[in-house]
């Protein structure tokens, strides 16, 4: 599709916004709709569009297959690692309350993290979620876990795209 000027221009215009939207869905999934899985598929869709319009070679340069395979494994590792981290902090596996820092384990996170960050202006939970340096345990855990999901989903879908697109017709 190298000669299709309209396709190339439109894809060039659209892809940055698709990527930006994927990042928005990823990191705003706790407030707006979406989350790791949705962000991952949107991100992969942008890379696939790039590959379709600009060729497989260009897409391989942007997202090297080896890097994608590593990121796919890294995503699962981040997710499971969050569970292990909460165990190391004295909670159960994937019990994010334990990640909130000392004194958070049994408070059900109702206690804001303000004790840890005195300069934090507001005490309400919502403001903490967006303005605090360290979100509450639950919030932090969900964000990290969603990041793991997003990495794995995007990387695996791009990998599958490469696997399919690299095939030629069997003789």
């Amino acid at each position: 599709m190298r000669k299709q000027t309209i396709l190339r221009i439109v894809a060039k215009l659209l892809i940055p916004y698709i990527l930006l939207f994927a990042l928005y869905v990823q990191f705003h999934g706790d407030f707006g709709p979406g989350g790791g899985f949705q962000a991952g598929v949107i991100f992969a869709a942008a890379v696939i569009l790039y590959g379709l319009v600009f060729g497989l070679k260009a897409a391989r340069r942007v997202t090297p297959p080896l890097l994608m395979e590593t990121l796919a494994a890294l995503g699962v590792l981040i997710y499971a690692g969050t569970g292990v981290a909460s165990m190391l902090h004295g909670g159960n596996f994937l019990d994010y309350n334990a990640l909130g820092g000392p004194g958070q384990q049994h408070a059900g996170s109702a206690e804001p993290v303000a004790h840890l960050h005195e300069h934090s202006p507001e005490g309400t939970e919502e403001h903490h979620a967006s303005h605090g340096f360290l979100p509450q345990g639950q919030h932090l855990g969900i964000l990290v876990v969603e990041l793991g999901v997003g990495l794995t989903v995007a990387a695996i879908l791009i990998t599958i795209f490469f696997a399919f697109a690299g095939r030629e017709r069997a003789q």
Partner: protein, 191 residues
């Protein structure tokens, strides 16, 4: 017309379009057109899900169903034939099976609670707890999760084990595709 009536109208229009697309996919013999129509079907489905207040599912349907799945089917089509073989023999028995199954499914929906019914069992069991935990200003209770998007909170926190399992399943699926379909490295070098 009230906004609700307009929404109803759009929903009915979308469902008619979905039905028409589905019937066309079944009848058409040109597989390339059929793949394109499945993409359109997914996109219509995503629009409908958006009207049902399920934007998360709509995102997924639009990106996976209309985008990635369409591409994967086109990639498969490039390796095989473009036209479906005409069906062999009578299609009366399959038709009867489909009608009976469909009728049983429709009959099953008669027992389901109405859409959006607050008394539905799904909204009586654990949902109130999730809502009061996740959305502090709705019921005034202390927030346990402090993630306003309850869907995200349920998926990532309350159902964290399930989501971990799903992530591993996706990872495993990708490994499987790699093992089956990746070209041997020596041919990749020649490319």
């Amino acid at each position: 017309m009230t906004p609700e009536a307009v929404t109803q109208l759009i929903v009915i229009l979308l469902l008619i379009l979905l039905l028409g697309t589905a019937i066309t996919i079944v009848r058409i013999r040109d597989l390339w057109a059929a793949v394109m129509l499945t993409g359109i079907y997914s996109f219509l489905g995503a629009s409908w899900m958006l009207l049902l207040d399920a934007p998360d599912v709509a995102f997924t349907e639009a990106a996976v169903g209309a985008g990635i799945a369409t591409f994967l089917m086109l990639g498969t089509l490039a390796l095989t034939s473009r036209r479906a073989k005409p069906p062999q023999g009578s299609s009366l028995v399959p038709l009867a099976v489909v009608i009976v199954t469909g009728a049983a499914l429709v009959y099953g929906t008669f027992d389901m609670p109405h859409y959006g019914d607050p008394q539905a069992p799904a909204h009586q069991h654990v949902a109130p707890e999730y809502l009061s935990d996740g959305v502090p200003h709705v019921q005034g209770g202390p927030s346990k999760v402090s993630v306003p998007n309850v869907v995200t909170a349920v998926l990532a926190s309350y159902r964290g084990y399930d989501t971990l399992g799903e992530t591993v399943v996706i990872f495993t699926a990708g490994i499987g595709v790699l093992l089956l379909m990746r070209r041997p490295p020596d041919r990749e070098v020649k490319q």
